[in-house]
Every structure is written in structure tokens, then in C-alpha cells.
């Protein structure tokens, strides 16, 4: 490796870092003020790229020159900023008071909606934007050619940092934003129109996302996969830098940029893992990132399960329910049974998450990790050991539990949003391994031929097996929730200092909860693998984790029946919408947003609330 190569590689890293920072900076700003983790930030970035790739050529057509180009970039960013305003006014403004998980879910709804809208507006094809006039030619650096546009990008990062710093430190708007970051209510009581302030912040955040996207057009064709690929990296940057810290984001982006530039030389096949490993390492050493602080979860934190009097005839009703479900094969056709099987599997999956979120207050964004581990554990056992289903099930459970033990050991040191992000990182690391370790996992093709043993090969038999395992696991988890162990988890959720002061080893308790929840999700994963006959990395992906969260939240985290209802509703919804229209993401997204607005406590929780209000 000669010096000029190292220098060029470092410059490459700087250019990527700048681009990443500009986008991530908006995410961290919005989080700082509104406390909303905006999943849709990546979508805004994508819209910025599409807008610029469409608008800038048109402007260059009118008048070719650098002015048109840069003006086009800025206008595109402004348009995205206005889109941010629209999102704030129409949706976010209504849910600032909602539990943060619901906010997250709502923004994921926006992701779905924008995915379809972008295709409708800009067309499905990638759009290659023009290059910047005057910056087409490379410059010679140490005898190597380097694109001059990248030099502009390298300068743009620090320029944005300086501009944001100026706005935050030297303007009244910035002072107000920083004040609102800490205490919104007090800002309002001092006569500041916080609605306007939030709208302004969303504008700024969306503008930066749009700018980040628009600046990419000379390098990247605008494409429909941009949203989710950038959002994961933005999360890493904001978390590593410390949530809400702009300088932290800058530092994190610099490190990630260099890590990627030089990482591809050393580990050309594991680029995905490297970034998330960095995040895991940083959080293991500094639980709140470089410049972050512990998140104080205030009154908006979703409350989980609380003590209540056992429902009259609850056992009877549950028994009747189970018997009715067991009779389904008598009336249902095979397809209905297949759907019912999947609903049960996902109900179990969501229910295992309930142990973490509803009981332990541990918000996991990466629950797919355990679901996927369970599925892969079974599939790998079938594939490599030729084991039958009966042996593969315990193997899946074991792998999921082991994974949960390992991940949990890191995660329980954290709290709040950092915990959530660490679980996300863990799931992403596993995803990357499943995706890239082709020899063992089959890569994106996954593993097929994972079919159940003969005695449960029939639809009805497998359905009954799923029902039995689901009921047993749910009853077991319910037992745990009511046991001293579950109470101790709840105690740690209600008040960590109090729990510690009465001698509860909070971290160990949570670690055990992770293992139990992981094992539960692992069973669900194994069941799913055999019901489908195959596994692939998408089982470990972000959408799977979001599915679990959606089902849990739709159902309601305060109740035991919630996740069961949530999984049924989401599944049926998807099943009904998908055949009707190729715009199913739009409708699914709107449905999720609608439900967040209408059922702020989840279906079961809200209905129970109505019942109690009437009583």
C-alpha cells in the first residue's frame, strides 16, 4: 500500500462521511427536539434524490451552468423540507403525546406510504441524475485521479456542521430548539409557539435529508432502495455519536467513512457487519455514544402490563377460545388453515416480545434476531445434519436462546433508545451474516426443504401442532409474567433504583428475560420455517422486527391478549390488501397510521378503556 493510495482511500472515506453526516444530522436534530425516532428520514432522503434527479436536468435544460445545478439541488432540498412540514402538520403533531413506540410505528407507516408514492410519481426505474457542470473532470492528487465533485462533498459536511452549529448556538430559533429539546412544556409556558418550533425543526431536518439525497445525484442513481439502506446507517451514526448530538454525528460519520474505505481492503466480504460491529463496540464501551446522555423516559413512555384483578371466568373463556381454534380444521379450507397457522406463529412471536416490552420495559427493535435464529437453527440442523423436524425444533430454540444470551449480555447495560438501537444493530449483524456467509446459510437464497415430518405434514396436523405449541408457550410465558420472576422484571421497569435498592439484580433479571423471550421467538421462528418450508435472511430483517412491534402495539402492550389480537388484525389486513392492489404498501402504511391515531393504546387496550369509561 503506497502513500498515494492511502491518501486517496482516506479522501474516499471523507466523501462518504460527509454525505452520511448531512443526512444523519437531520435525523439527530429531529430526535433531539421532538424525541421522535423518525424512521421516515431515509424516505425523505430518497425523495430528495428523486426530486433532484428529475428537477436538475430540467433546470440545466433551461440554462446550463453551475448556478442551475446548485439552485436545483437547493430547491429539491427545500421541497423535501416542505414535505417534512406536511408530515409534521398532518401526523406527527397529533402524536407527540403518544408513547414513543407508537410514534416510531407511525413513522414506519410513512416509510411504506412514501415507497409507493415515489414509484407512482417518479416511476419505477432508477433515475440517473446529471453531473455537476464544471466538476466533471477529475483532479490529480498524488498522481491519481480523484473526482472533483467528491472534493466538494468533502467540504460540504463541515460546511453543514458549521451552519447547523451557527443556527443552534447563535440564533434565537436555535436557542429555542435547544430549550425545547429539554422541556417542551416549559417552552410553551414561556410564550413560544412550540408547534411552529417543531414544524421548523421538521423542516430543517427534512431539508437536510433532502439535501443529503440531492447531493448524491452526481454519484448515485436515484432508486427505490435508498430509503432503507440509508436509514440503518443514519441510525448507526446518530447512536454512535449520541442521540441528539450534532458534533457526535459528525465524528461518528467520519469514523464510519474511514472504516468503510479501509475496511473493504481487509474484509471485502463483510462490509455490512463492520459498521454494526462498530456500533456494538462503541455502545459496549460508552452506553450513550460519544456525546449522548442517558435518555430520561418521561410520562410518554408506554406503560406495560399492570396488576389487575383476574377476569371473571377468564380461564373458561380462554378454554372455549382454544377449543374453537382447535375445531378450525373441521370448517376451514387448507388456505385458511395456512393463514391461521401463520397468525398463530406471529402471535407467539409478538407475545414473546411482550415479555420484553410489556413486562420488562425493554424496547427491542431487533426481535427478528431471535425469530430468525430459531428459523435458521432449525433449517441448518435439517440441512447440515439431516435431522428430522423433531430434532430441529429444539435446535432452533437453543440457537435462539444462545443468541439472546449473547446479545442480551451487551444490551442489558443500556436503556431506552440506546437499548432499542443496540438490539437493532444486533439483528442487523445477524442479518448480514445470514446474507453474506453464503457457504453455510445459503446467502439470500436461504435454505429450502425445511418441511415437517410426515405425521404433521398435513395442513390440519401442522396447524394443530402450531396451535398446541403456541398455547403451551403462551401459557408458560403468562405463568412467568405472574411469577416472582415476572414481577421482579416489572419492578425493574417501574423503578430501576427502587428495584436495585431492594436487592433485585436488575441486569441479570433482564438478561434472563432476554433468553426467555429469545427462546419464545425461536419457537415461533422454527414453526414458521417448517410451515413455509424455507428460511432466508429477510426473517432477520428490520421489516420482521417492525412486524412484531406493529402487532404488539396494535394489540396493546398492557394486555396479555393484545399481541394475539394484533397479529390477527395485521395479518388479515395484509392478506386482504395484497391481492387487491400493487399499492398495498400505501394502504398498509395508511392503515398503520390510522390505527395509531384511532387506537392509541392498541386495539385491546383501547376497547377495554372504552368499556371502563362506560362502566
Amino acid at each position: 500500500m503506497d502513500l498515494s493510495f492511502v491518501a486517496i482511500q482516506a479522501l474516499n472515506g471523507l466523501a462518504s462521511a460527509s454525505s452520511l453526516f448531512i443526512t444523519a444530522c437531520g435525523l439527530t436534530l429531529v430526535f433531539g427536539v421532538t424525541r421522535i425516532v423518525n424512521f421516515a428520514h431515509g424516505s425523505l432522503y430518497m425523495v430528495g434524490a428523486f426530486t433532484a434527479a428529475t428537477l436538475v436536468p430540467w433546470m440545466l435544460e433551461l440554462w446550463f451552468g453551475p448556478v442551475s445545478f446548485w439552485l436545483g439541488i437547493v430547491i429539491s432540498a427545500l421541497i423535501v423540507g416542505l414535505l417534512g412540514v406536511v408530515i409534521e402538520v398532518l401526523l406527527l403533531r397529533r402524536i407527540y403525546g403518544a408513547p414513543e413506540l407508537f410514534q416510531l410505528l407511525a413513522t414506519f407507516g410513512i416509510v411504506l406510504v412514501l415507497q409507493d408514492l415515489v414509484v407512482q410519481i417518479f416511476g419505477p426505474q432508477d433515475i440517473l441524475g446529471p453531473r455537476a457542470p464544471g466538476l466533471r473532470a477529475p483532479v490529480e492528487i498524488l498522481g491519481r485521479r480523484f473526482p472533483s465533485y467528491e472534493l466538494v462533498l468533502i467540504a460540504a459536511g463541515p460546511a453543514v456542521l458549521a451552519a447547523v452549529w451557527f443556527v443552534l448556538r447563535k440564533t434565537r430559533f436555535g436557542t429555542l430548539i435547544r430549550a425545547a429539546t429539554q422541556d417542551r412544556e416549559m417552552v410553551a409556558a414561556l410564550g413560544v409557539n412550540q408547534a411552529l418550533l417543531f414544524t421548523g425543526t421538521l423542516f430543517l431536518g427534512a431539508f437536510l435529508a433532502g439535501l443529503g439525497g440531492a447531493l448524491q445525484i452526481p454519484r448515485v442513481a436515484a432508486n427505490t432502495g435508498m430509503d432503507l439502506s440509508i436509514i440503518a446507517e443514519c441510525f448507526v451514526v446518530t447512536v454512535v455519536g449520541g442521540m441528539g448530538s450534532v458534533p457526535g454525528a459528525f465524528l461518528a460519520a467520519l469514523i464510519i467513512g474511514q472504516l468503510q474505505a479501509f475496511g473493504i481492503l481487509i474484509f471485502p466480504k463483510s462490509t455490512l457487519v463492520v459498521v454494526f460491529l462498530l456500533m456494538a463496540v462503541v455502545l459496549a464501551i460508552r452506553p450513550y455514544g460519544f456525546f449522548g446522555r442517558p435518555e430520561i423516559l418521561g410520562g410518554t413512555h408506554a406503560v406495560g402490563i399492570a396488576s389487575r384483578k383476574p377476569m371473571a371466568r377468564g380461564t373458561l373463556l380462554a378454554t372455549i377460545g382454544i377449543v374453537l381454534l382447535a375445531c378450525l380444521p373441521l370448517i376451514g379450507d387448507p388456505y385458511l388453515l395456512k393463514v391461521a397457522t401463520e397468525i398463530l406463529v406471529f402471535a407467539l412471536f409478538a407475545f414473546s416480545l411482550q415479555l420484553l416490552i410489556g413486562v420488562g420495559g425493554l424496547v427491542s427493535f431487533g426481535h427478528a434476531a431471535f425469530f430468525g435464529l430459531g428459523a435458521y437453527g432449525s433449517a441448518l440442523t435439517v440441512k447440515w445434519l439431516g435431522a428430522p423436524m423433531e430434532a430441529a425444533f429444539p435446535a432452533g430454540l437453543l440457537l435462539a436462546a444462545l443468541g439472546a444470551a449473547l446479545i442480551g449480555a451487551f444490551v442489558v447495560r443500556l436503556s431506552g433508545i440506546y437499548l432499542a438501537m443496540m438490539t437493532l444493530a444486533a439483528a442487523q449483524i445477524l442479518y448480514a451474516i445470514a446474507f453474506q456467509w453464503v457457504e453455510v446459510t445459503g446467502g439470500d437464497n436461504g435454505i429450502v426443504g425445511v418441511w415437517p415430518s410426515n405425521w404433521v405434514a398435513g395442513r390440519s396436523a401442522y396447524y394443530l401442532l402450531t396451535l398446541a405449541l403456541t398455547v403451551i408457550t403462551v401459557l408458560f410465558l403468562k405463568k412467568i409474567i405472574e411469577s416472582p420472576f415476572g414481577y421482579a422484571l416489572r419492578a425493574a421497569r417501574d423503578s430501576e433504583p427502587r428495584a436495585e435498592a431492594i436487592g433485585i439484580a436488575v441486569r441479570q433479571q433482564r438478561w434472563l428475560a432476554f433468553i426467555l423471550a429469545g427462546a419464545g421467538a425461536g419457537i415461533a421462528g422454527s414453526l414458521y420455517a417448517f410451515s413455509r418450508g424455507s428460511v432466508d435472511p429477510s426473517l432477520l430483517g428490520i421489516p420482521t422486527s417492525v412486524d412484531a412491534l406493529t402487532m404488539l402495539l396494535l394489540g396493546g402492550i398492557q394486555t396479555i391478549a393484545g399481541p394475539l389480537a394484533g397479529s390477527a388484525v395485521l395479518h388479515i389486513l395484509r392478506d386482504q390488501i395484497m391481492p387487491l392492489t400493487s399499492l398495498w404498501r400505501l394502504f398498509l402504511g395508511l392503515s398503520i397510521i390510522g390505527m395509531v391515531l384511532v387506537f392509541p393504546r392498541g386495539l385491546v387496550g383501547t376497547i377495554r378503556q372504552w368499556g371502563e369509561d362506560r362502566a
Binding site: 433515475i127 491519481r144 480523484f146 448515485v220 468503510q260 446474507f435 429450502v448 426443504g449 414458521y528
Partner: protein
Amino acid sequence: MAKTSMTGWLALGVALALGASAAQAQTAPIKIGELNSYAKQAAFTVPYRDGWRLAVEEINAKGGVLGRPIEVISRDDGGTTGDATRVADELVTREGVSLLFGSFLSNVGVAMADYANQKKIVYIAAEPLTDAITMAQGNRYTFRIRPNNFMQVGMLVEQAKASGAKRWAIVAPNYEYGQSAAAVFKRLIKESVPGAEIVAEQYPALGKIEAGATVSALEQAKPDGIFNVTFGPDLTQFVREGNTRGLFEGKTVLSLLTGEPEWLLPLKDEVPEGWIVTGYPWDEITEPKHKAFVDAYRAKYNDTPRLGSLLGYMVLYMIRDTIERAGSTDTDAIIKALEDAKFDTVAGTVTMRGIDNQSSMGAWVGKLVLKGKSGGMSDWKYNDGTSYMPSEAEVKAARKD
């Protein structure tokens, strides 16, 4: 006499009654299930849908098959294996379709192949490329039209041999398609070019290429030739960075699929001229049958046909021929009619090889060239797939059935 006539009348009545219901059965459409990632991969799947819809119209206008019209029941497969197999199940159990075709992504294709095997229903994969569908995961019920990875890489290696380049660099997306293409290339280049060596390998994450860093790293290895498997947004980024930094100057570049309109259209006027690619020079193919297809397609959709359009169009005609030859929609009959059958398609004569259910459809190999405002192919040649297919021994070693 009276008795006879009585019997006669009865017989006539029964015959009429049966005839009527038979006639009704004959006009009821033949249901075929189709699924693809129409929402998530719209750029590729919508032209494909346009292709098969055109074929359905044409076929039904000419009276359908076996005297019955064809009805394609189409679903979105959600782009995931889970959704795909569930949707397939709905098509089979609820809609009662006779066979399935479709899907774009390789992993969905593999899962569908396995599904077909399990449920004993024919599945025709038009687009997915992974070798697994006809090799390791191949089965009696799964058929594929498009030339697979192995075949297309083989065609490019032939060109590599001609170029004389020895020091090769590989850039491929880090997922199954990219890795298996790279592995095949490594194997074949060493077999066919003595003294060839691989001097650099880069495997950027799919959709997340660090193009600048990747180009620098490849450049550092000073290769004579580059084998590219990246596609989509990764490809455009790679091309731009590579052009700016002069990576491709004086080097032989082989690139999979880049000559397909799907990939050329987004590149606009920035096509890397001189790259040797597999692709689809739709505008230059002069066979009358193909021209008729292009004209009909453009007339109906006012759009450029993509390779997907061609595949969609082809697959439906092949399904029609199969059902006609099978004389029924019975699965075993369909399989029998498909295996080792010859089809006269718009892309020429294609044989469905029986041992691996891989069609002998070939690919067009040529050089990229700028034609006006977008790229096209020049010096192209259609390579029939037959001579590039994996040998029977290889197939037997890989397949479990």
C-alpha cells in the same frame, strides 16, 4: 323397435345433457397462477407483466388453448419468500390454478421451486437467475426459461479468452447471485485461460457500494481485465467513479446483464462503451417473429420492450404450447409435455432440457455502445444456450432427484 327407440331417445338425452356440460367446461377459462414483486421491483416486473398480458390477449383472440381461454390470476409476492409461498398457496387452493409461473428475485424463485416440489404443482421460473433453481434445488416440478448464471458467465469467459487478458479483477455484489457468478467466473477462467490469475476481488454490499473506495482498490491491483457483476444503483455509481478515475481505460471489462434495456436505460448517455456484456439488443434483432413482437408491444404500451417483456411474452406462449400438447391441465401431463420439448419462440427455437428443466434459451453477447441518448449493443451475437449449459454429469451431481 319401440324399445330400441326408447333407449335411443334416452341415450340421446343423456348425451345431450353430458354434451352441454362438457361444452360449458370447455369454454370455462384455464386458470394459471402468476406472482411477482410488482410493488418492490416495479422497474423489472411491470414490463414483464406487460409482456405476458400481451401474449394472453393474442392467444385468447385466437381462441385460447384447447378451445378455452386462458385466464392469468396475478398476485404480488411481496418480494419475500414468506409472502410468495403463502400467495402461491392461495392461488393453488382457493383459485385452483393449473400451474404457477413468475417471480423475479432469486431467493423467491428458490423458495417457489421448493414449494412446487412439496405441493406437486408445476412452477415455471421465467426470470430468476440463480443456478440453484435448476441445480441443487432443482426438482421435477420446476422449470426455468432464462439462461442461468452459469450459462451467461460461460459466454463472457469465452470473450475473456479472446481478449488475452490474464490479470483479472472481480467486482460483485455480496449476495448469492454475485458470489456464485464470481465463483463460476473464477473456475471457468482458470480452466480456459492458462496462466490467468485473480488479482483483486471486491464484494460491496448490495445497494451500498462505496464506489470511490472500491474503484481505488481495484485500480491499485493493476488488472488487465475486470469482471463486473454489480447492477442497479451500484452499477451506475461504479461506472461513474470508474470513468472519472480512468479505471476502465485500456482494460477489458466483462459485465453480466448490463446490455439488457433494464440496466441500459437508467445509465442514459453514460454507458461505458466497449464493455463486453450479455444483454438484449431488441432494436437490432431482425427475425420477423421477433419484430412482430416488438411492434405489437410498442403499439400497445408505447414503451421500449425490456428483457423482462420478452420473457413474459415467451413464457406464456410456452405455457400455451405445453397445455396444447398435454391435452389437459393435469400436472403429470404438463410435465411430460415440457420435458425435452422444443418450442418455437420469438427468441428462436428453445429446448427444455429434461434432466434439469433448464431451457436452452441463449443470450446476446456484444459490446456496449452509445446510440444517441442511450446505450445499446454492437457487434452482438446470439449465443444459443445449449453449448453453455452445465454438463449432464454436473447436473446429476448437483441435483437430488
